[in-house]
Symmetry: C2
Subunit: 232 residues, 2 copies
């Protein structure tokens, strides 16, 4: 059975966290909007299908299930594809980490859109500079040193002592923030997270994915955007 993933074309965005899990698992999936265009998502968002109503992409269909919200999708996929062990404590912990990553991703977006997602970056550049200063000096260190600490507590190699989908998501965060804030990131001492991200990138299925055309480049249309004025 194949999954259908629905996400905006042209960017990695939040959909990328789901793609990484599907690719690591070598799960059969169709990236539907990339095949048929973004409009294909409208019938779902407009409520023309049975089942759960998604608020926004990404969402995944699996048989008759409609599953929206990245962390919810990953929590659904992970036990079906060996991306999380049986332990309830580990599943709760992985999900907590994924939700904390979601908070960091939302803040990474709001750095370039502090006044509102509906306005252009150019119309909120001054506010973005103020917010970026706090993001670089306070938020990036707080979040990433938390994750570094989690990895250290769990043996230094993985978020949770063995490989799980949380490692894939930490890789993606390191990739995105490294693209958007190369100077600020260079100042962070995060040996375990950097090593973890490198080992994720070297996993055969992930390495194949990253080398494929399916992996789009980071860009200034995505969540993690590089504007040199925000990375002073």
């Amino acid at each position: 059975m194949s999954y259908q993933l629905y996400y905006w074309t042209g960017i990695q965005g939040r959909g990328e966290f789901v793609r990484l899990a599907l690719e690591e698992a070598k799960a059969a999936y169709v990236d539907v909007a990339r095949q048929e265009g973004d409009e294909v998502m409208n019938t779902w968002l407009n409520g023309e299908h049975e089942g759960a109503l998604p608020y926004a992409p990404p969402f995944l269909t699996s048989g008759r299930l409609v599953i929206a919200q990245v962390a919810n999708i990953l929590q659904y996929l992970a036990p079906r594809h060996g991306l999380i062990p049986e332990s309830e404590a580990k599943r709760l912990y992985a999900h907590q980490l994924q939700l904390t990553i979601a908070d960091l991703v939302a803040e990474s977006h709001d750095v370039h859109h502090p006044v509102g997602a509906g306005l252009y970056y150019e119309d909120q550049k001054d506010e973005a500079k103020r917010r970026a200063k706090e993001f670089r000096e306070s938020r990036i260190p707080k979040f990433l040193h938390f994750f570094e600490n989690v990895v250290e507590r769990n043996g230094g190699k993985h978020a949770l002592r063995e490989f799980t989908y949380a490692d894939l998501s930490l890789f993606q965060v390191m990739s995105g923030l490294g693209y958007a804030f190369p100077k600020a990131m260079a100042r962070q001492k995060l040996p375990l997270l950097r090593d973890l991200a490198k080992r994720v990138a070297d996993r055969p299925n992930i390495a194949a994915y990253l080398a494929s055309e399916r992996r789009l480049p980071h860009s200034e249309d995505g969540i993690f955007r590089h504007y040199s004025e925000l990375d002073a």
Copy 2:
């Protein structure tokens, strides 16, 4: 067995979503910081305990489990206390709705702190006014009409056709936004959500909770803050 809830004293905040579930279930719990002071949370946040490391309050301990992130806590509690049916589709849907509520809650906070949580409101008042305009005119309608639509699709009485913890969380969102943005909320046509919120408030365990001293009032220290200049 009793749960231990850890959350900042003095505000409803994100902890309130967990309290509502515990109160509806008449579950035994200790609101630990309210007994012992906010400092009691530090040993957890500093990593001095076994188990999952929370990034921030609220977190809940249940036996040896440490569970952080509101949606994660609710997803753990709900099946144990009859706040969600057995159906996998319904559990995924309720969790999706809770995560969408979490996104709305985060935006409700950022309205008064668009430049950063580390700065005072007074130092970002102009930016807050700009962001509040978009929040009132675009974000509140988009989120709440989505939830209104969900209730309508599921029979008009509940988020999910029968009572679940998602109803409790929708009540809390309506309560908070109604406090913070009374004028903007009065302009929204949300008959089903308003009726749902009223019926949640009338549930015996919730009514008793809301009338108790355990339910703190909304205030300008919380997430949902009323500043008249942001509710033009």
